[in-house]
Point group: C2
Chain length 191, copies 2
Amino acid sequence: MQALIDRIRSEGKILPGNILKVDGFLNQMIDTALLDEMGREFARLFASDGVTKILTVEASGISIACAAAFNMGRIPAVFAKKHSTLNQDPDSYSARVFSYTHGTEYTIRVAKRFISPDDRILLIDDFLANGEALGGMLEIIRQAGAEAVGAGIAIEKGFQEGGERLRAQGLRIESLAIIESMDGNSVTFRS
Amino acid sequence: MQALIDRIRSEGKILPGNILKVDGFLNQMIDTALLDEMGREFARLFASDGVTKILTVEASGISIACAAAFNMGRIPAVFAKKHSTLNQDPDSYSARVFSYTHGTEYTIRVAKRFISPDDRILLIDDFLANGEALGGMLEIIRQAGAEAVGAGIAIEKGFQEGGERLRAQGLRIESLAIIESMDGNSVTFRS
């Protein structure tokens, strides 16, 4: 999506360790016009897939998931929780996810009553790199007996292996911007 | 807002310790039609306040903040982070917030470049109880030299002291549903 690519070019910040910061328009400060445009693009891409629900992981996936869900006919957006809370639902699906950014493993959880076997679920996330978060969400959908119709990603790091591996496993992935390579001061996108 | 009150009546779950769970339509699974309606209501309530930015706290405030920001003319929505990340901005405003739900204190942070002294900021949150999160956000706005034009809250627990205390300090608070009292199986709303 050209508007997103342009924005990454003009405002994205490259940090050591292949980290791309987009916190000025996507992560910590959210450009809600761009957000809506992204939601409409995901709605267009998955228009004929009978999506009944969106699934994402807190926190930075939530805004994109809501924009997509709203534009797909006001369907529900569900987010998996990363952090335990005192009043969490004991009857939950869960999966372990390894974070390469933080070097730690964490558990994502979704209360069982929010996914049913007849759900057709679109996964949404802000970044796809090693595919760990998507893998965790796919595991939760498997436990629920629901179907994953695909994944909508804002920014895919095409030079990391998650996208290739998950596509090889049959998952349809639509990324609005795919980064081919990054060096200290420029980003090259896959055309 | 009647649609929200009706939804709390029909689907809210009351847990011990005055906890109201609304995770079926607001917290973990988000009804994006209701979300948009809430965003439009906040836009109506603060239409003449020249709001330039929304500020909330991750994670459950994000969806409501984005809906409000989108409906207020696609202004930016900023969320304060609760959890440290490896690539967080060292140049941040921060405030300590005590969580009564979890019995712990945590730090919320916003990168300095996302709030400027000429910003007129609307605070958004899902719940207002003891007012700790709002207090932390007000402290961040004070550090930035910006102005808080008010707070838009989805659900206020009117029987806890946060709303009264912050209103007495001069903060305008608009809550879409104010709970007067809760017992084991029913919720009474302030009219």
